[in-house]
C-alpha cells in the first residue's frame, strides 16, 4: 500500500516537472508581458515620474493615490465605470445566452446564423465604436430610423450629445460585440448538454422555463462563470468604443476610468497619477472578478 502511494507520488512529481517544462515558455512570456509592466506601473504610482520618463523621479509614497482619491473627477469616473460595467456585464451575458439558446435550436439557416454570430466578435472595438457613432447619429443614424419606425420615438434624438443617453448607447455598442463572444462560448457549453436530460424532464412534466432553470442553467454554470468574469474584465478595461463614440463626453457623462487614465498618462503625461489610477482600476477589476466568482462558483460534488 505504502509502495503504491510512493509510486503515485513519484509519478505525479514527474508529471508536475513535465508540465512545468511545457508551461515554462508561456510563463516567461507572461512574466515579461504582464509582470514587468505591472511592477513598473506600481513603481510609477509612488513616484513623481517626469513626463520624458528619464528616471523614476522622486519617491512620493502614496501622494498620487491621495490626489486620485481626493478628486471628484475620479469618483465621478468610478460611478460611470461601474454603471457602464453593470450594464455591459448583465446585457452581454443575458443576450449572449439568448443567442446561444436560439442558435442551438434546429431551424433552417442555423449554420448561417452561427456564422453571423462571429462577425461582431471579429470586428475590432474601435471599428464598432465608429460604426455605432454613425448608427446613433441624430441626423442620419439608423438607430433613430428604427426607433421612429417602431413608434418608440416620435422624433430623431441626439443620443450621443445627451448626457442621459450617451452612456446607455455606448453600453449597447459594446454589448453588441461582447454578446456574440458570450454567445459562442455558451453555445459550446450547450452542445455538451445531453438531450436525454431535457427529454426526461419533459416526460416528467417540466415546462420549458423549468427545464431552462433547473437543467440548462446549472449545466452552463462553469461556462457562465468564465463568460461573466471575462465580461467583468472587459467592462472595466473598456476604452476603444467609448473613445471613438464620445471621447468621454458630453461633459463627463461617459468618462470611464480607462479614458481618464489615457488622458493622464498619454495626454497630459502625469505618469505618477495615471499609474495610480491604473492600479486602482486594476484593483476594482480584480475585486469585481473575484466577487463574480464568489457569487457564481459552487464546488462540484466529488464523485464517490
Amino acid at each position: 500500500m505504502a509502495a503504491n502511494s510512493m509510486e503515485r507520488s513519484a509519478l505525479s512529481g514527474a508529471d508536475r516537472a513535465f508540465g512545468l517544462r511545457l508551461a515554462l515558455p508561456a510563463m516567461l512570456l507572461l512574466l515579461v508581458l504582464l509582470a514587468v509592466p505591472t511592477v513598473l506601473t506600481i513603481l510609477y504610482s509612488v513616484h513623481d515620474v517626469p513626463p520624458n520618463g528619464s528616471s523614476l523621479g522622486a519617491f512620493v509614497g502614496f501622494k498620487n493615490y491621495g490626489v486620485v482619491l481626493a478628486s471628484p473627477v475620479f469618483w465621478r469616473s468610478v460611478e460611470v465605470t461601474v454603471t457602464f460595467s453593470i450594464g455591459f456585464v448583465v446585457l452581454s451575458t443575458a443576450i449572449g445566452l439568448a443567442m446561444a439558446m436560439l442558435v442551438n435550436q434546429e431551424f433552417v439557416g442555423r449554420s448561417l446564423a452561427r456564422a453571423l454570430l462571429i462577425i461582431p466578435w471579429a470586428t475590432p472595438w474601435l471599428v464598432i465604436g465608429i460604426l455605432w457613432k454613425w448608427f446613433a447619429d441624430g441626423s442620419v443614424g439608423g438607430l433613430n430610423a428604427v426607433l421612429t419606425q417602431l413608434h418608440i420615438l416620435s422624433d430623431y434624438k441626439e443620443f450621443l450629445s445627451d448626457p442621459n443617453w450617451a452612456l446607455p448607447i455606448t453600453v449597447l455598442a459594446a454589448v453588441w460585440r461582447q454578446a456574440s463572444f458570450a454567445g459562442m462560448l455558451l453555445l459550446a457549453g450547450l452542445q455538451t448538454l445531453p438531450d436525454e436530460l431535457g427529454e426526461a424532464a419533459a416526460i416528467d412534466g417540466a415546462t420549458v422555463w423549468q427545464r431552462f432553470i433547473h437543467i440548462v442553467l446549472p449545466w452552463l454554470r462553469p461556462v457562465l462563470i468564465t463568460v461573466t468574469v471575462l465580461n467583468v474584465i472587459y467592462a472595466f478595461l473598456q476604452f476603444d468604443i467609448v473613445f471613438a463614440m464620445t471621447q468621454g463626453g458630453p461633459g463627463d457623462a461617459t468618462q470611464v476610468l480607462s479614458i481618464l487614465i489615457y488622458r493622464q498618462l498619454f495626454g497630459v503625461t502625469h505618469i505618477g497619477i495615471g499609474s495610480a489610477l491604473a492600479v486602482v482600476l486594476g484593483l476594482i477589476a480584480l475585486v469585481g472578478g473575484l466577487a463574480v466568482v464568489k457569487l457564481l462558483y459552487r464546488p462540484e460534488p466529488v464523485p464517490i
Binding site: N52, S139, Q247, G249, P250, G251, Q255, V268, T269
Partner: protein, 446 residues
C-alpha cells in the same frame, strides 16, 4: 486636444487629394533649380533624417520632402501617424527613445517638449532671425517663448472666422454680416424664427472647446491670460456674459444638440446643405464647405469676427529634435526652413502647396501677396481680408504655448460641456476654469 481627436483637416484622402499629391511632385520638380542653389550645408550630412507628421495628405508631405531630397539634400524617412492621438503617440515614442530630427507638433505642446528635452531651441541657427522678421508680429509669440527662445517654426496657420450663408441672411432681411457675439445671437434668433432650426454650428467637442474659449473671449476684447500666463479672464466683468452667451446658444437651440459630438466634416456639410447659416472655425473650412458642392455651398462666404476686437489665431508647428551631430542638425534646420518658411528661391513653395490642398495659410505677410499663393487659393477667398485679420485682428494668446498649458487645455471641455448642458452656471464655470488654470500651473489635481 490631448489631441485634436477628430482629424481637423477636412476630409480624408480621395481622388482629388491623390491628384493634388501628383501635382505636388510636379511642383517639387519645378522648384528643383532653386532648391539646388544652396544645399551645401545640408549635403554635408550623409545620413537619413527622420521626420514625423500626422496624416493630413501624407502623399503630399512625402512628395514635398522628396523634392527637397532630390535637390541634393539628405534622404528623409517620413513617418506618418494618425492625427487622432498624435500628441499621445509622439510623447510615447520620444519617451521610448525614438530619434526624430523634426516633427509636427501642436503649438500648445511646444514649450513642454523643450522643457522635457524632446525639442531643441532654434536660437542662433542660420536665417532664423530673418524667418521671424518675415512673420506677422501677431504670430511670433507662438514660436518665441517669454524668455526669448525660439522654439518652433510654422507648419501652418489659420484664424477663426465666421462662415456665413449670404443668401440666407439676405432672405431673412439681415443686411450686415454679424460680427460680435450679440449680433450673431440676434441674427441666429431671427433665422431660427424664420424656420431654420439651428442656424449656428461650431466644433464644440470637448477637445476643441479650448479654442472657442479663447475665440469668444477675444471677440469681446478679453485676453484670458496675461503675459506671464496668469489667468485674468475672471477679473473682466464681461467674461460671465461670454459664457452666458455660449450657454444660450446651446440651450436655446441656436446650435444643434449634436454639436457637442459633431465633427467639422458634418458641420461643413450642414452649411453646404443649408441646414446652418453660421459656422465659426478656421478660415480654411471655406474650402471644405465649397468643395462639398451642396445646394448652398456657393452662397457661403467668410468674414472676420470680434468686431473691433480680435479673433483667435492658431497654428501648428514644426519642432526640431535634440540633435547632437552638427551636420545632421544643419540638415534638419535646412529642411525646417524649406518646410516652414521659404525655399532657396525665396518662394513659399511648401505653403503654396498647402494653400492649394486645403486653403491653409502661413503666418507671413509676404505669403498673402505672393502671386503663386494668390493663384493657389480658390477665387472665393478674400486674401487681403484674411491677411488683415492675421495682421491686426487676431491674437495667438502666448500662454497657449507654456509648459503647463496642455493640462489646462485638457480640462476646458470638461467644464464647458456642463455649462452648455445647463448643469453649471456661467459664474461657476468661470470659477472652475480659473481653478483649472491655477491647478495646471501648480501641477495638482486631475
Amino acid at each position: 486636444m490631448g489631441d485634436k481627436t477628430t482629424g481637423l483637416f477636412p476630409g480624408q484622402i480621395d481622388r482629388r487629394d491623390f491628384l493634388r499629391a501628383g501635382g505636388a511632385a510636379a511642383l517639387g520638380a519645378a522648384f528643383l533649380p532653386g532648391l539646388m542653389s544652396s544645399t551645401a550645408q545640408a549635403a554635408a550630412y550623409s545620413g537619413t533624417l527622420n521626420m514625423l507628421g500626422w496624416d493630413f495628405q501624407p502623399d503630399t508631405i512625402k512628395s514635398l520632402v522628396a523634392g527637397w531630397t532630390a535637390a541634393g539634400n539628405p534622404k528623409v524617412d517620413v513617418a506618418i501617424i494618425p492625427n487622432l492621438g498624435y500628441s499621445s503617440a509622439i510623447q510615447t515614442r520620444l519617451r521610448g527613445g525614438d530619434k526624430l530630427d523634426l516633427y509636427y507638433n501642436f503649438a500648445y505642446s511646444s514649450q513642454k517638449f523643450i522643457d522635457q528635452g524632446w525639442a531643441a531651441k532654434l536660437n542662433g541657427l542660420p536665417d532664423v532671425d530673418k524667418l521671424l522678421a518675415d512673420m506677422f508680429e501677431s504670430a511670433r509669440a507662438r514660436h518665441v517663448n517669454v524668455a526669448g527662445d525660439i522654439i518652433s517654426v510654422p507648419y501652418f496657420s489659420a484664424v477663426h472666422m465666421l462662415h456665413y450663408n449670404e443668401k440666407m441672411l439676405t432672405d431673412a432681411g439681415i443686411t450686415t454680416v454679424p460680427s460680435t457675439l450679440k449680433e450673431i445671437y440676434d441674427a441666429s434668433k431671427k433665422l431660427q424664427s424664420g424656420g431654420l432650426a439651428s442656424p449656428y454650428v461650431a466644433y464644440w467637442v470637448k477637445e476643441f472647446c479650448e479654442e472657442y474659449f479663447h475665440t469668444y473671449l477675444l471677440n469681446e476684447g478679453i485676453t484670458a491670460f496675461d503675459d506671464k500666463g496668469a489667468p485674468v479672464f475672471a477679473d473682466d466683468p464681461k467674461t460671465e456674459g461670454v459664457f452666458a452667451w455660449w450657454q444660450s446658444m446651446y440651450q436655446e437651440g441656436l446650435a444643434p444638440k449634436s454639436v457637442l459630438t459633431d465633427d467639422p466634416g458634418k458641420e461643413s456639410a450642414q452649411m453646404a446643405q443649408g441646414q446652418a447659416a453660421f459656422f465659426v472655425l478656421h478660415h480654411y473650412f471655406l474650402t471644405s464647405i465649397r468643395s462639398i458642392g451642396g445646394p448652398q455651398s456657393n452662397n457661403v462666404k467668410s468674414a472676420p469676427i470680434g468686431g473691433s476686437n480680435y479673433t483667435l489665431q492658431i497654428g501648428e508647428v514644426l519642432q526640431m529634435g535634440n540633435i547632437a551631430d552638427a551636420d545632421e542638425k544643419a540638415a534638419a534646420w535646412d529642411l525646417m526652413k524649406y518646410y516652414g518658411w521659404k525655399d532657396k528661391n525665396g518662394k513659399f513653395s511648401v505653403f503654396t502647396q498647402w494653400a492649394k490642398a486645403a486653403g491653409l495659410a502661413a503666418p507671413y505677410p509676404g505669403f498673402f501677396t505672393d502671386p503663386d499663393v494668390i493663384a493657389a487659393f480658390p477665387s472665393y477667398y478674400d486674401l487681403p481680408m484674411i491677411s488683415k485679420v492675421f495682421a491686426t485682428g487676431s491674437k495667438v494668446v502666448p500662454a497657449r504655448t507654456l509648459a503647463w498649458y496642455p493640462d489646462f487645455q485638457a480640462k476646458v471641455g470638461d467644464l464647458v460641456h456642463p455649462l452648455l448642458l445647463g448643469q453649471a452656471t456661467p459664474k461657476d464655470t468661470v470659477a472652475a476654469l480659473t481653478k483649472a488654470a491655477t491647478d495646471a500651473q501648480s501641477g495638482t489635481g486631475i
